[in-house]
Amino acid sequence: MEQRMFKADGIVLRTRILGEADRLVTLLTLEEGKFEAVARGARKIKSKLAAGVDLFNYGHFTFHRGKTWPIITGQDTIKSFSCFREDPDLYPYGIYMAELSDRLISGEQPCAEICRLLLEGWKLLGEKNTDRFLLCRSFELKLAHISGYSPHLHSCTNCGSEKALAFSPRQGGLMCSCCQAADAIKMDPGTAAVARRLIKAPLSQSSLVRLSDSQKKELACVTAAFLTYHLDLGEIKSRRLLAE
């Protein structure tokens, strides 16, 4: 028989107002995957849960199985990423990572690897010398890799030629000049090498990579197009604020 009470360590990905004083919280947990839970009275100023169920929080949660949604009965914060509250420049980046993770995970499947990636991404965003652009590209590529959609970045996806100069989001990899598809985006070998490195190297090493402005543009175009096509993410709302 299913237990009425359960516990999980989770990250708050999103919150919405529910009724008068409740919040509907989207949690990404290590044990139970992604699900929504109700934080009763969390909008009230004296609520014990209010701070713990706000965005960018990672904590131990206890739940009671409710009729529609689990009800959060307790919360202990493990780490609160308050840097996103304090720095308006950082906020869009944190939201972007949360939205990507939220959109990618569809249901209650265990996703500890994505949880850990998001926690590390948020931690690095809060550090001083982080290159936020490269960190976000690395995060996107790693997220795709974990989901089983790693782009083919070694040779032409079609013929195997190593002289590939473009990237086809539909084909999911590099294309040479002979095989080039209609949707191909220019991607020079240096940018492809950087993308390969960003997938393999730890997230913390993404800031060590050096790229020219044109290569940065290429990389941003390629990752955005690849994610949109293969992961069926649709419109990523936080991208607009990130662009501003």
Partner: protein, 198 residues
């Protein structure tokens, strides 16, 4: 449950109010049926009038019956102080304290990219031009103390600081009447940061 047609319609209409379920709706419906016709008409008229006659102030965005709200048209209010809030109901809450006598500006939301609310939706350019064209010396940011509210406050501070006005944020801390024992870590650390000499 089987209701007579009009009672069913009334109960269904009342369940559309926030926090009103089937049982409460039924209770209110029976209360209304017990009232005199004049009372019921007065209640219905008050609702329709409020909907028809209330709009938003052209200057500050709070609730108003004419182009200007009662705060913007009151010459006794302090023109040097401006309090920025998220929703029109926040104005009423602040007024209830009786501690504030300045002007207001209502954003009608907070920065929330996931809900499609960016700086453009908050019409921040209107706030900037209002400050430029007036005698405002201090802007108090009283957005909600959550992530969206804090991010909006940070964004506003960066936007308004070059205008040579003093930008302040309402204080954070423990609610009056609560026990420290039950306070969460973030609230407590913010209360410590915001401590003051007594």
């Amino acid at each position: 449950m089987v209701y007579p047609g009009h009672l069913k319609k009334l109960v269904e209409a009342l369940t559309r109010f926030p926090g009103i379920g089937q049982k409460s709706a039924q209770r209110i419906a029976f209360y209304l049926l017990g009232c005199s016709r004049e009372d019921v008409v007065a209640i219905a008229r008050a609702m329709v009038d409020a909907k028809d006659k209330l709009g938003f102030c052209q200057t500050c965005g709070s609730l108003a019956e004419t182009d200007l709200c009662i705060y913007c048209s009151d010459s006794k209010r302090d023109n040097n102080l401006l309090c920025v809030v998220q929703e029109p109901r926040d104005v009423l809450v602040l007024e209830r304290t009786g501690q504030y006598s300045g002007l207001y500006h209502v954003l009608h939301g907070a920065l929330s990219p996931l809900d499609g609310i960016g700086p453009e939706e908050l019409k921040l350019d209107r706030l900037v031009s209002r400050i430029r064209e007036s005698e405002i010396r201090e802007v108090i940011i009283a957005t909600n103390p959550n992530v969206e509210g804090d991010a909006t406050a940070g964004y506003l501070a960066r936007l308004l600081n070059p205008l040579s006005v003093r930008v302040t944020r309402i204080a954070f801390g423990l609610p009056v009447g609560g026990d420290i024992e039950y306070a969460d870590d973030l609230t407590l650390s913010r209360a410590l940061d915001g401590r003051r000499v007594i």
